[in-house]
Amino acid sequence: MYSKGIAFLFFSCIACVSVFSQSPVKYRVYFKNKANQQFDPHTYFDAKAIERRARQGLSLFDSTDFPVNPSYLNEVERRVETLKMHSRWLNAAVVMATPEQMAAVSNLPFVSAVEQASGVLCLPASRDDESLPPLKKAEEMQRQIERMGASDLQTQGLHGKGVRIAIFDVGFSGADKHPAFVHLFQNQQIKGTRDFVKKRDYVYEGGWHGTAVWSCIAGKNPEGRWLGLAMDAEFLLARTELERSEPFAEEEYWVAAAEWADKNGADIINSSLGYTENRYFPEQMNGKTAFISRGANMAARKGILVVNAAGNEGSGDWGIIGAPADADSVLAVGGVEPCCDYHIEFSSFGPTADKRLKPNVAAQGRTLSAKSSGFSTVDGTSFASPLMAGFAACMWQKYPALKNMELFRLLEKSGHLYPYFDYAHGYGIPHPSRFNSEAPPEPTFNLVKDTAAAHYTVVINPSHFDSSATEFSQLLYVSEVDSRNHLIAYRVVDVSTTEPYVFKYSPFNPISRLRLHYKGYTFEQAIP
């Protein structure tokens, strides 16, 4: 018995180690160059992709668009179990291989680096909320687009016409038969579909999340009311996610989809997803570590506006934005409450690990959306992101000469808090009326310094205080800023009385400025 037990333990160990270590694992192999490759952009790209490049002054002969050297792929494929996919942009291949095989691959003269990827679980960036009474849903539906200037856009005939939006999601279950999208199919606004998980073109299954997201760009309810702002846009629908599990492969699908979207002329990518603690550490949210973030930045280099949900980790342990919202060229969209311009509790906070502002802007984090059958109220920055993508499409329709990053900056600038920002709301909710407005708003408060007591007092101008206003509708934003324009601390005050708000700050913090915002007016005070 004694020896049997020892044998059991021994073989258990061997079996476990074997199972985990000897079976093929996924790796990414990066190549040093694209030697001897030729590329004809006119045969590779859709006309709309060429048009975007021409409009934004981008070269048609960018080396990152050249194909991966097939002889490199062949050499790698001969040494590994399977070659799963490759990326032109990142000049990389994804393979399944054992550690021994990878040791051989990494010694090839044209391989610059290899990295391991494996599968783990996390959740999509959305939450169900069926708890609201039906009466309120109609109000919320109207508000989710009206607060972003739906009436103004309607008046100007701005519905995203001529703008092509790619949506990357878990699938679009039932969307091909859903009443919310009938107009899009009738008008042939769907220009391409691709399921990168199952490697086929059918995308109308896999999960309702994509259906709901799409509806927040261009959906319509049975009464004919719009759920999003860009009902005239064209669409590319890509499935890049699995609903129940989220393996590392999804990041590769995402990058492959971005290349596909670029090739097929996408102007905007909306992706309502984020990868966090299952794969990364918070200090890796720097826009350079995650594969998907590097791919997203590359998409931006191609002139595409990448719009991504900030994430729903705000009330969780992780707390901050995930990848690819951490990428510097990705417009990360946070969520606000339907009632007011205040951060909705689950919306992920910024900044990035390297202290860059995230989220960049905000939109309503609880929306009425289409689901696989019918309509429902859903929570999540997943739905704030498509509202923003729709808004961006409208503004790009109006200002077609803008480059993607110019549009990015203008979207930030049109936020209701601009030039104030914080790491909960970014620059706030964009509105077309602020898109090109330079008029400084009139002061709504005064800041009084009390040197003796070492504090500041904010005195709200009585003409800008509404005693009948509802809770959270009159907000004072206060932040302590260091010399590099990073926020050291920030807060939001619900102004419920005309009493002064007395603000003390720590003499030990390296504050160089105080920045405050109330009802459209931002004021900065240098701290000596």
């Binding site: 049997k4 037990g5 333990l9 550490f281 920030y490 939001v492 002064p500 007395v502 030990f508």
Partner: protein, 231 residues
Amino acid sequence: MKPLIIAAGLFLLFGSAPAQNVILDKDPAIDSLVPKRGPNRKHYLHTYMSFGFTTDPGEAGARSRQGTFGHYQLGLRYKRRLSQTFALGYEFAYDVNDLSQRQEAGKLVPDTLQYRRERLIFYNALFSPYLRINFGRRGNQLGKYVDLAAYGTYTVSHVLFQRSELPDGRNIRSRTTGLTYFQRFNYGATVRIGINKIILYGHYRLSDLFYANWNFPEPARLQVGVQFVLN
């Protein structure tokens, strides 16, 4: 007095008058400090709970009932990360080992009589150092791993439950402590296979449970079960 001074100091440093309602107050400078503690950080401390059962029958004369839960643990485990692949650690646990004796001909432990039910329960304090081998890339997660551990237990208390049924249908229950035939110190090896917070384990006792001079056959040595990381 000291808490009052601290509270007053904190108010002076960070306080704001309560005339208005502060609904969000964030301190990113502190929030973004890289922590040293976490599932895949330098240090990780967590509690766990185990439920296991006996899988081997034991030697003839001391056979245990198989397949019923009889091993429970509530423990505290520390992990010190050495690299993305390796970690060392140790744990303390309250370990309950419930050997439910099979009542059959030839039974010798603890006596030759057959009862309706007989359980020999040991309440142990356990200490176990271990080596962890992790597999695959992960963030701040436990990930996939194999633990190879040695353990030692000291029996803090014990009890022998015996239940007999008389011919008239009445039950007689006896509870015996102060047994002198078992060793208080035991040791063995453990293998754990884990995926994040769920672990399968095998727990093998290498030491003999009974003193050699009693000539008792050895009861089951191997227990397997499931363990849950609680926090």
